[in-house]
């Protein structure tokens, strides 16, 4: 009874995205029989944790799984502590799901002792975060082209960026490579701190996610000069893409997705893929994406694995750490 109802619900809610998922719901042969642990390898209150709590809330409130599901924050080491816990205690356990993101992928590139994505089975990407080039509202540059042209007339590293983490640094590297100009990068703990430095005029620019800058963008305290994206945002139609301005950068977005422990069999992996497809389709998730000016990006199973391999190549290239 339960099973039939679930597959029905699944078929109904997955319908709009059925083309992408190509029969993800076909093998509903496995389902959890005891409590599921949802491991968040990041601290309570951060961006990754908030996403995990939204996903958790949707799974619980829409009754997407027939068993209780408990969140477990295991922060530390850029995701390595939490995933280390999974590989030590939950190997191949299909009753464990894990939140993974770009940071977990960067950690082992910089610190080979830390193992992250190699210890999990990626199940589905759920969203992408964008990077924008921001300057102060009273800055002389009206677009990225003018910014680059001005930088070219000055000695290298004359313009300084404040960043909130390694992902922002990579965006600067991309920008620097595409424009042939060297910039100065000052690293801070969070996007908020970087924004404060920009507002105070201590640096000339920031690379950041839209969320933290939105209020200031609307009040014109900061200006967005461009975005590393293929098309303009629907929420920010005035912000041109880098390519439109003749700056040839690859699309650069930070991914966030879900995984199960390494060695999870196919049937449970497919089951979770179906659950996450329903999470992404839920109105609460769409509202979360809209609030964060992020992009909904369900990439399931094998396509996700391939996507991650491409990202890994890009990250290694940007960080100067070839495999």
């Amino acid at each position: 009874m339960l099973l039939t109802r679930r597959s029905l619900l699944l078929a109904a809610s997955a319908a709009p995205v059925a083309a992408t998922f190509g029969g993800a719901h076909a093998q509903a042969g496995w389902q959890p029989t005891r409590e599921v642990e949802f491991v968040v390898p990041f601290g309570v209150g951060g961006g990754a944790d908030l996403l995990a709590r939204v996903i958790h809330k949707i799974i619980v409130e829409d009754k997407l799984v027939p068993v209780p599901i408990a969140l477990n924050n295991r922060p530390g080491g850029g995701g390595a502590t939490g995933i280390g816990y999974v590989s030590a205690r939950k190997a191949a356990d299909p009753h464990t799901i894990i939140l993974v993101n770009g940071t977990t992928q960067i950690t082992p590139i910089l610190n080979p002792a830390a193992k992250t994505l190699s210890e999990v089975r990626p199940v589905m990407n759920v969203m992408l975060d964008d990077f924008l080039l921001f300057v102060r509202g009273d800055a002389p540059w009206k677009d990225a082209k003018a910014f680059v042209a001005d930088a070219k007339t000055k000695p290298p590293k004359s313009l300084a960026f404040a960043t909130g983490g390694t992902t922002d640094v990579m965006a600067i590297t991309i920008f620097s490579k595409a424009t042939g100009v060297e910039y100065n990068a000052l690293n801070f703990n969070s996007g908020g701190e970087a924004l404060t430095q920009l507002l105070g005029g201590h640096v000339q620019a920031c690379m950041g996610n839209p969320l933290e800058f939105m209020g200031h963008l609307q009040s014109k305290a900061v200006r967005a000069l461009g975005v590393f994206r293929e098309q303009r945002f629907t929420a920010l139609p005035d912000v041109p893409t880098m390519k439109e301005q003749g700056i040839q950068t690859p699309a650069f977005q930070m991914w966030r997705g879900m995984a199960t422990p390494k060695g999870t069999p196919d049937a449970p992996a497919k089951y979770w893929e179906g659950v996450f497809a329903k999470v992404v389709a839920a109105p609460a998730f769409k509202a979360y994406i809209a609030e964060n000016i992020a992009s909904e990006a369900p990439i399931p199973g094998d396509a996700f694995v391939k996507f991650l391999a491409d990202q890994e190549k890009l990250y290694r290239d940007l960080l100067g750490k070839p495999a």
């Binding site: 690293n187 105070g200 609030e291």
Partner: protein
């Protein structure tokens, strides 16, 4: 005039039964998490966040702000009673507060902390109300060189905290060294982690402070726990003389706390250090400090509460976080569809003023809750020490484990606890080591950020006026005692 009108509107909003209830719930929860090491106000707010989805944003922010400043009151409790600081900002309180408790004056220490916190909380809320926009601009003037010089000023306190200057400096430098363990913020590469994943984040503040204060205290007293007489509880509320002694420290602490709290990223912790040092420098007899000086409780406690309101300034006036906790409150605002930014005061005036008004009410709640409780909690010390110590150790272990669910942190607690015992045995001060650990990363990062900015020139620290003034203050703090000695010696000749 308009401020009074705005505040009246705010009060009308804050005095509705529902908002009063949220305020009470907030300060109560804050008090509770403040007292528990390991779980802090940021975690508490993050955990409550999903419950408030769909609720009225104003009530939710009242609740969160209440947790934030309520936690500053709660942190005092464990620092004074069992020498376990629950938050970085209560480390200084535990130095003299715990000594007062041992002398049977726990009630007085808690009482003066509650009164000081109330006065500081109220004064700094007035400051927040009147001065938010200009102060926020001041906060923006702080770039990396200014933070560096501020931290240098803070580090001059290292030598002043303990009895011996040399031991204080050595312990402080050891703390600075500890802060270099883990992922380097500027390059993302791990240092001194020895390929251990659990060392990637370095040594946590909670681990070190609970070990050096809590565990070390229990270990070093364990030998005499059975013979140690149960403390007599002299009086529960501060006497007239004690109140007189604390009056000025409370006012100074409020001012220091509010001003330092406004600066993003430093906040309550540095404020409490600076307040403690100020009191010690100004005291007629500095040798009383560390042995139960009431000013050593009144100053830092007022200052950490004032800093909590100060940290709201950049958040409300600029939309940038002033501390880890306000960063989460900002996140909550976004969740409610309110864009934090420079226009928050204009566009969401009702929300801002209601929250400010609720802070006055919350401080009254906290005073009413804490004054009678001070006496009640002080009774805890009537329990024989041999019974008290095992639960304290359990609380230390549980607190450290709960912050990251990490058993390695517990082993570090054991190791540093043993070190703390040895330090206590040979009279090495613990506070400078913690100060070094807390300030170390801002010290190093702001220095490297400044050098990046200046393309490697040290001149940036003296050519920028605010930075130059702060460095000059640091120089005076170091040289003043020596010059004074020289002056006195010359006068005698």
């Amino acid at each position: 005039m308009s401020v009074i009108q705005e505040l009246a509107t705010g009060l009308a909003g804050a005095l509705t039964p529902w908002n009063m209830l949220m305020c009470l719930a907030g300060v109560f929860a804050g008090q509770l998490v403040g007292a528990l090491p390991g779980i802090g106000p940021s975690a508490a707010i993050a955990l409550l966040l999903p419950l408030t989805f769909g609720a009225d944003p104003t009530s939710a922010i009242i609740l969160f702000a209440g947790i934030y400043y309520g936690a500053q009151y709660g942190g005092t409790l464990t620092s004074v009673l069992i020498s376990v600081p629950g938050e970085p900002s209560s480390v200084m309180t535990s130095i003299d507060g715990y000594q007062m408790a041992l002398q049977g004056k726990a009630g007085v220490a808690l009482g003066i902390a509650a009164i000081g916190s109330f006065i500081a909380g109220t004064l700094s809320t007035i400051g927040l109300m009147l001065l938010a926009p200009p102060l926020a601009r001041m906060a923006l003037a702080f770039g990396p060189p200014e933070y560096f010089s501020l931290v240098v000023l803070g580090l001059t306190a290292l030598a002043a905290v303990g009895g011996s200057v040399l031991k204080g400096l050595a312990a402080g430098v050891f703390g600075l060294l500890l802060s270099t363990i883990g992922i380097d913020q500027q390059t993302g590469v791990a240092r001194f982690a020895f390929d251990r994943v659990w060392l990637l984040d370095g040594v946590g503040f909670i681990v070190l402070s609970v070990a050096l204060f809590g565990v070390a205290e229990v270990l070093s007293s364990a030998g005499m726990a059975t013979q140690r007489p149960i403390t007599k509880i002299a009086n529960l509320l501060p006497s007239r003389a004690e109140w007189k002694q604390s009056r000025m420290p409370i006012l100074r602490g409020s001012l220091i706390g509010f001003v330092v709290g406004v600066l993003p990223a430093t906040g309550a912790t540095i404020a409490s250090f600076v307040a403690y040092i100020t009191e010690k420098k100004l005291a007629k007899d500095p040798s009383r400090f560390g042995k139960g000086a009431i000013e050593g409780v009144a100053g830092p406690e007022s200052s950490n509460n004032a800093a909590a309101a100060g940290a709201m300034v950049p958040m409300l006036a600029l939309g940038v976080p002033g501390s880890g906790t306000t960063a989460i409150i900002l996140g909550a605002l976004i969740m409610f569809g309110i864009r934090p930014g420079p226009e928050l005061f204009d566009k969401n005036a009702q929300l801002v003023w209601t929250v400010i008004a609720s802070m006055y009410i919350g401080n009254v709640f906290l005073l009413v809750m804490n004054l009678p409780l001070a006496g009640l909690f002080a009774q805890l010390l009537r329990v024989p020490y041999s019974w008290l110590y095992p639960p304290i150790l359990a609380l230390c272990v549980a607190g450290v484990y709960s912050q990251a669910n990490s058993i390695e942190d517990v082993w570090m607690l054991v190791g540093f606890g043993a070190l703390g015992w040895a330090m206590m045995r040979y009279e090495w001060p613990a506070a400078p080591m913690i100060l070094g650990l807390v300030l170390g990363s801002i010290f190093e990062n702001s220095m490297r950020q400044s050098m990046t900015l200046s393309h490697g020139s040290l001149g940036i620290f003296v050519t920028r006026p605010i930075s130059a003034v702060l460095l000059a203050c640091a120089l005076i703090a170091v040289l003043a005692p020596a010059v004074a000695r020289w002056w006195r010696a010359r006068a005698h000749i």
